[in-house]
């Protein structure tokens, strides 16, 4: 599904190398977790994959089902199946949540040459999906993320994911700012979306989220590289011993 080879990235504005040769392959249907200390480059990786401005790829490749992601505009990546659940979902005053969702869904369909969803079909689908995420009608009507609590914003991200049905979901610290109940709700939303054709890259500091969203593979990232890869037990090791031991081991 997703294949990253020797990815080197630096900030456009300053001569600062953030990613220093990331290699990562995510197979279809698998959940990969990336853990790592602050500043290791986890969020940068998620932004580079989704096409945010401000980063310069100096070396390496990233492909989705063989297609070069790095050559695409953010909206093209989205239509190709990339979805980034933001660590800090953006508030957009003046744009209704529902309008936003419908525009996004239909823009992607159009880009893929599919028929646009009718207003009635869209409404039916969004209501059903919102209900399972405990998102009420009022939240759908309000401007995108404006006045939403931390938990509501993250649930709204999952709703978008559910509506857009991406192939490759990248979740950037989705657990940050969530209480236990909200984390459970969000995880259930994500788990409901797991299937053979859909892959996940779950970025997190803590093992906690991985209790709910069970990963197939866990990577440890440090100083712009993946330094260790293992099974779910690797996350537990981090939880118990912190990153220091692992980093000492690989250095």
């Amino acid at each position: 599904m997703l294949e990253i080879k020797n990815l080197h990235v630096q900030l456009e504005d300053e001569d600062k190398q953030i990613l220093k040769g990331v290699d990562l392959t995510v197979e279809p249907g698998k959940v990969h977790a990336i853990m790592g200390p602050n500043g290791s480059g986890k969020s940068t990786l998620s932004y580079v994959l989704s096409g945010r401005d401000g980063y310069e790829v100096t070396e390496g490749t990233a492909t989705l089902e063989g297609e070069d992601l790095l050559d695409m505009e953010p909206e093209e990546r989205a239509a190709a199946g990339v979805f980034l659940a933001f660590q800090y979902p953006v508030e957009i005053p003046g744009v209704g949540n529902m309008t936003f969702l419908r525009t996004a869904v239909n823009a992607q369909r159009k880009a893929r040459g599919e028929e646009e969803l009718s207003a009635a079909d869209f409404l039916k689908e969004v209501r059903a999906k919102a209900k399972t995420l405990k998102i009420d009608a009022d939240m759908l009507k309000r401007p995108v993320n404006v006045g939403f609590s931390g938990g509501e914003k993250k649930r709204n991200e999952i709703l978008q994911m559910a509506m857009l049905e991406p192939k490759m979901c990248i979740m950037d610290e989705t657990d940050s700012g969530l209480d236990v109940d909200a984390m459970k709700l969000v995880s259930e939303g994500v788990n409901a979306l797991r299937n053979e054709g859909r892959s996940f890259l779950v970025i997190t500091h803590y093992q906690r989220l991985l209790d709910h969203i069970k990963p197939d593979v866990v990577h440890i990232m440090a100083d712009g590289r993946i330094v260790k890869t293992g099974g779910p037990e690797l996350a537990l090791e981090v939880e118990h011993n912190g990153y220091a031991d692992i980093l000492a081991e690989v250095n």
């Binding site: 909206e75 979805f83 980034l84 953006v90 957009i92 005053p93």
Partner: protein, 427 residues
């Protein structure tokens, strides 16, 4: 005090090109009074502080600059709505194109007809609010209008007419120089919606005086269209009685020179005045919103919401003032003026002012200029919305606070549609 020579010459030249109507009837005294004020004040010049950001030259010149007649190739914005249409072609009332002016709850007369009478209710209002509005800041072009306007309507609202009154303007001659003067009196508990739309003339000077009695309500929505070469100077003078409401919204698209002044006086307790504007300008565009709201009663609310989207070297101006007089306690005043600059060539010039002489008031004001929010743009794009559509969505969202001031949802939707069309034509 004698006028500076330059101003005196310009004023004399302009006055020489104008004549009062042959019959002035009951408006004669107001016209002569206004003419005397013009002679005393002189017409605006580039050195006047109030005209620091907008050059008045083409508004005061003896002859109107030529302006191409614009054909949008589509119906005017409120044309397909159920409303009472009053049509002016190059500033002259057109009975053929207008609807029958009878409507329950309202009485409508032409200013030209009133000029043939010695007694008419409008006698008390014609020029009265304009004259009050000359202090503390002189507005000579409004006085010029009072003195010389030949046409317009007097609308006397006594009830709640079943449909809006729509003033439709058509531009037919490349050299037309139109002056219209409308007066509206809203009686106690009466309520009316007044719409204005269309290219009025090559040069347009319009005054609207609005007197709203206790518990009266007036909604005003105006669309200044795409007739790019127009030069328009408009004044709205509104006086509000106790518990009355005045809400005015203006959409402006294009125009080499447009200045809209709003002069609002809250004279009765618990009155509410909202003035708002959304403007979109591209290239050789100059739009000026100048607002002066005076609180002279207790517990009144005023809101000024002005949003401007500017690109390719367009200029937006906002001069907005809230004056809270002594004793106008519990005043709630709000003023926001913002521009969205879509490139580095465009500019927004803002002069927000508060002058407060009461001690128990809440007044806030803010003014900002900024570009499209890159984070929001990326968020939309990351969900698959193409960059142009995402930019347009954010642009409309930026204008939303102003558009939200329109109470009638059908009218608001039409305004939004026009804004969408405007953006779509440019993306």
């Amino acid at each position: 005090m004698a006028l500076p020579q330059e101003k005196l010459t310009a004023t004399e030249e302009r006055l020489a090109s104008l004549a009062m109507p042959e019959m002035c009837g009951c408006t004669r005294a107001a016209r002569e009074d206004a003419l005397a004020r013009v002679q005393e004040m002189g017409l605006p010049g580039r050195r006047d502080e109030y005209w620091k950001y907008t050059r008045p030259d083409t508004l005061i010149s003896a002859q109107a600059p030529r302006a191409e007649v614009f054909d949008a190739g589509e119906p005017m914005i409120f044309e397909d709505m159920d409303n009472l249409k009053i049509v002016f072609v190059d500033g002259v009332f057109s009975p053929e194109e207008s609807d029958d002016l009878t409507l329950e709850g309202v009485m409508i007369d032409r200013i030209e007809d009133i000029c043939g009478k010695d007694i008419h209710w409008a006698k008390e209002l014609y020029g009265a609010l304009e004259s009050r509005g000359q202090t503390p800041v002189p507005r000579p072009l409004a006085a010029l209008n009072t003195a010389f306007a030949k046409d317009g309507v007097a609308i006397h609202v006594t009830g709640k007419p079943s449909k809006p009154i729509c003033l439709m303007y058509r531009h037919a001659s490349e050299t037309s120089d139109a002056m219209l003067h409308h007066v509206i009196r809203v009686e106690p508990d009466a309520e009316v919606t007044v719409l204005e739309v269309g290219p009025a003339a090559s040069r347009f000077n319009k005054v609207m005086e609005i007197d709203i009695a206790d518990n009266g309500t007036l909604h005003h929505v105006r669309a200044q269209g795409r007739d790019h070469e127009r030069r328009a100077m408009t004044h709205m003078f509104a006086r509000l009685g106790t518990e009355s409401t005045y809400k005015s919204f203006t959409l402006t698209a294009n125009g080499v020179l447009t200045r809209n002044e709003q002069v609002v006086e809250l004279t009765g307790d618990d009155a509410v005045a909202h003035v708002a504007g959304a403007c979109v300008g591209d290239g050789d565009f100059h739009h000026d919103d100048t607002v002066f709201i005076t609180h002279d009663a207790v517990n009144c609310e005023s809101r000024q919401v002005f949003k401007k989207v500017l690109r390719n070297g367009a200029t937006g101006v906002f001069q907005g003032k809230i004056l809270v007089k002594e004793g106008a306690q519990k005043t709630d005043g709000y003023q926001i003026s913002q521009s969205l600059l879509l490139d580095d060539d465009s500019q927004f010039l803002a002069k927000p002012e508060l002058e407060i002489y009461a001690d128990d008031v809440a007044c806030s004001h803010g003014s900002t200029s900024g570009a499209i929010d890159e984070t929001a743009l990326f968020y939309l794009r990351s969900r698959g919305v193409p960059v142009k559509d995402a930019t347009n969505m954010l642009t409309l969202a930026f204008l939303a606070e102003a558009v939200d001031e329109i109470e009638d949802s059908e009218v608001a939707e039409k305004i939004v549609n026009r804004l969408e069309d405007w953006l779509a034509r440019r993306s």
